[in-house]
Each structure stands twice: as structure tokens, then as C-alpha cells.
Symmetry: C2
Subunit: 243 residues, 2 copies
């Protein structure tokens, strides 16, 4: 019996993400209760917020297609970008179900999400799904730790090289690259707020990379011109392994 969603685009069995960890578990767990609820699609347009920091009861989603960014504005008005979510990744799980969100989620391009049932009761009958959730959280944690390691003690060129390769690699795992080119909706300000740099210094560094034939960003397209140099700058710490 197939686990299927409501909308025609929402059919899990034809979804490009169906072999990714969480989706696979979701499809495998075919309880009558879960099946009855079904996965519902949610379409959002670019610049639309999915939820804001402080919101309670936000739902659990898998990003089906698009690009979602997690950001938080701190008390002193500075903005932190935590990470980008790419297709197949989970969004909205928290330690305490229905506790306030610590960051906002904004779609950077038109995106489609799949709403996932999210309750203690539900997971209690779905051990495989709960374990999948744990793996997903461990994966997010590892990515965050890698960014922490990248930002701590490393200079601007190294940080940017790391970030670009990490995102490139994550898109490549999903087949979302075109040779050395990827769609790249992040603004220079987003890069700055991710890496703890100023927009001006990100601009200076990207400009230098372009002059040196290392890297080019133009019209939301990023092209890696010299992978070796980027790799040497980034270190090898951007490979997270299978999804």
C-alpha cells in the first residue's frame, strides 16, 4: 500500500526526495492512522515566512522543492543566519513539541513543503520514524558543528570557501548542480550574517575570488571556477555523507 499525499504533485512515490532518510521512513511507516491524515503540500512564494521566531505550535515540514533559510534577529538587532534548508530536509522539529521557535524560516525562492504529522502520540507508534527524526537532528547538529568549527579561528576567505563548497556539495547530493554551477539565492548580506562578517568584507572577498578566477556569483547563479583552491581553503570538513 502506498503512502500518498493529497495533491497531484504530492505523490510520495514519484517524489525526487523519496529515497532520502526521513521521506523513506515516512513512506515505509504505513499505519492506517497516518495514511488517513496524508501528507499535505504547502506552496510558498519567494520572501514568504513559514513561521517567525517566537511562534508556537509551528508545524513539521519536509522541504520538497525550493530553498528555505533559518534566521534569527537578536536583542541587539543583529541578524544571525543559521543555515539553508535544501530539498529533502526537515524543518520545524523541536525538543519540546509546540514550544516557541528560536528562529524564523523564510523561503528564498518559490518552494513546496510537505506537512508531516507531528505529535508524541504519532511517533510513539512509529519507532522507525522517531529514529529517523533522531538521525535528522543529529545530521543538522553535525552541520551546525561544522559551521561552528569553520567560523571559529578561520579567516574570511576560508569561511566563504567552506560555505560555498558545503552548499555545493549538499546540492550535488541531490543532483541539483549543473557541472560546477548551482542556483544560489543567497545575498551577500545572507553570507555575511551566516559567517559573522560584514557585507562589505564579503563583497571584497567575493570580488577577489572573481579576479583570481576562483569563484563567480552572477544573477543568483554561482559557478566554481577553481575547485582545488576552494578545497584547499575550506579544508575537507564540508562532506556530511549520504542524506
Amino acid at each position: 500500500m502506498f503512502f500518498r499525499s493529497n495533491g497531484s504533485t504530492g505523490l510520495c512515490y514519484s517524489c525526487p526526495n523519496r529515497y532520502f532518510r526521513f521521506c523513506k521512513s515516512l513512506i515505509n511507516s504505513s499505519s492506517a492512522e497516518f495514511d488517513a491524515q496524508a501528507v499535505k503540500n504547502l506552496t510558498v512564494t519567494a520572501k514568504q515566512y513559514l513561521y517567525h521566531q517566537g511562534d508556537v505550535n509551528q508545524e513539521l515540514f519536509v522541504l520538497r522543492e525550493g530553498w528555505v533559510m533559518l534566521t534569527r534577529v537578536s536583542d541587539d538587532g543583529k541578524r544571525q543566519v543559521f543555515r539553508s534548508l535544501l530539498p529533502g530536509e526537515l524543518l520545524g522539529f523541536q525538543q519540546h513539541f509546540h514550544g516557541p521557535a528560536i528562529y524564523s524560516a523564510i523561503a528564498l525562492v518559490d518552494s513546496v513543503l510537505c506537512k508531516i504529522p507531528n505529535s508524541v502520540e504519532h511517533y510513539s507508534t512509529q519507532p522507525e520514524l522517531a529514529l529517523s527524526l533522531a538521525a535528522s537532528e543529529a545530521c543538522d547538529k553535525m552541520l551546525t558543528e561544522m559551521y561552528l568549527g569553520n567560523i571559529t579561528h578561520r579567516n574570511a576567505r576560508e569561511r566563504i570557501a567552506f560555505m560555498v563548497l558545503e552548499i555545493y556539495h549538499r546540492l550535488m547530493l541531490r543532483g541539483l548542480n549543473n557541472e560546477y554551477t548551482i542556483q544560489f539565492p543567497l545575498k551577500q548580506e545572507d553570507i555575511a550574517d551566516t559567517l559573522g562578517l560584514t557585507t562589505i568584507h564579503v563583497n571584497r572577498t567575493l570580488h577577489a575570488f572573481r579576479d583570481e578566477g576562483v569563484l563567480q556569483i552572477h544573477k543568483h547563479q554561482l559557478t566554481i571556477l577553481d575547485y582545488e583552491i576552494l578545497y584547499a581553503l575550506a579544508g575537507s570538513r564540508f562532506e556530511l555523507g549520504p542524506i
Copy 2:
């Protein structure tokens, strides 16, 4: 039926951590299989490594008592300290069971750990435990995100204030403070490697804090002299909520 460990010190029902998330789930999940294996205690002395980065098949533990630090030495020889583990916290879970560890775990003081059965098969029959694992990972992720937010865009005084209050708060939740004093086994170099500062600058800043009557570290004891000032520097982002 009680879930009990082998050693006399390992009896879960008298353990100070028994009401913390993961331990509580562990005690509640009383499958015959799990009970037969039982929780085994492991005692380590200060400066002893539990495992090294790159090790495979490291086991899953809960820290019963003591202080464990997670560190990684990168290719260029710099050391990153990821975080400190305090009693009741989980150690060793990874996205891929038995994959290589990305960091080393070292005990900073004499510590006792409880070894937890760790296999896909085990969790498959224990949905509550698997969900507890997910919550534990989400909690670690949140802590790492808070450190990321703290280090990115904030200066040395603010970073140190945040770190001190975060650890103080986490110890307080466990009743391991004595008024405004806590045991603090971290060296200045550990603080530096956590926050992306140099040992020299950490020393300068701690010295200034002491002169200003804000904070004092002496013989592995840390005393908060002016909570308000530290709080104002740190922002309110160090409170993680219940364990």
C-alpha cells in the same frame, strides 16, 4: 519492574539524573531484552579520552557524574572545542550508527558514565526511547546554534559572558551550583578554543572581569560576582529550558 544497572553505584532508581529526559525514557522502557543487557558503568579519570576523532563503533553513554569536553583538531592543527557535557547528557549518538566520530571526547575530571545499548534494532522496539534520542539531539543542536549565534558578530567580553552564564545555568538546572559558585575545570585555553579567541585575549578579558568585580576563576572554581553585568553582556540567549 525496575530497570537497574550492574554496579551498586549504577542503580537508576537512586541516580540523580533519573528524572532527566533520556534517563527517564530508559527507565520507562523496560523490555526484557534491554533489561537483560542492563546499564553498565564506566569510570574514567581526569584527562582520559573516551574516544578519539575518527574512531568507529564508539558506544552510546549517558554521563552520570563528572565533566566531559568534546574537541576536534583540524587539518591545520587548530583545536576546536565544541561543548562541555554535564551530568545527564548523552554522548556518542551519530547519524550513522558506528560511523567515524567527528570529535574526541575527553573527561576533564574523574567521571562516571553509563553505557547504553545502541542499535537500530533496539530502538525499533522502543519508540519512546527513539523519540527521547531525537529530543536529546534537538537539544544539542539548539545549544550549538546558540554558541554559533554567540560567536558570530559578538566581541570577546560578550562571548565569555555568554559561555559562563550558559554553563552556570546548565549546572544550576542540575543543582550543581553553590550560590554563585561552580566547579569549573576548563582552562583558559579551553575557553579560547570554544569561542574562537586566543588564550592571551581570554586571559586579558578574564583579568578585566576580575578587576571590575564581574567574575572570578580561582583553582577551578568560578564565582559570578555581578550577575546583572554578565547577563547584559550575554543577552538572554543562554536559557535552554528543562532538561
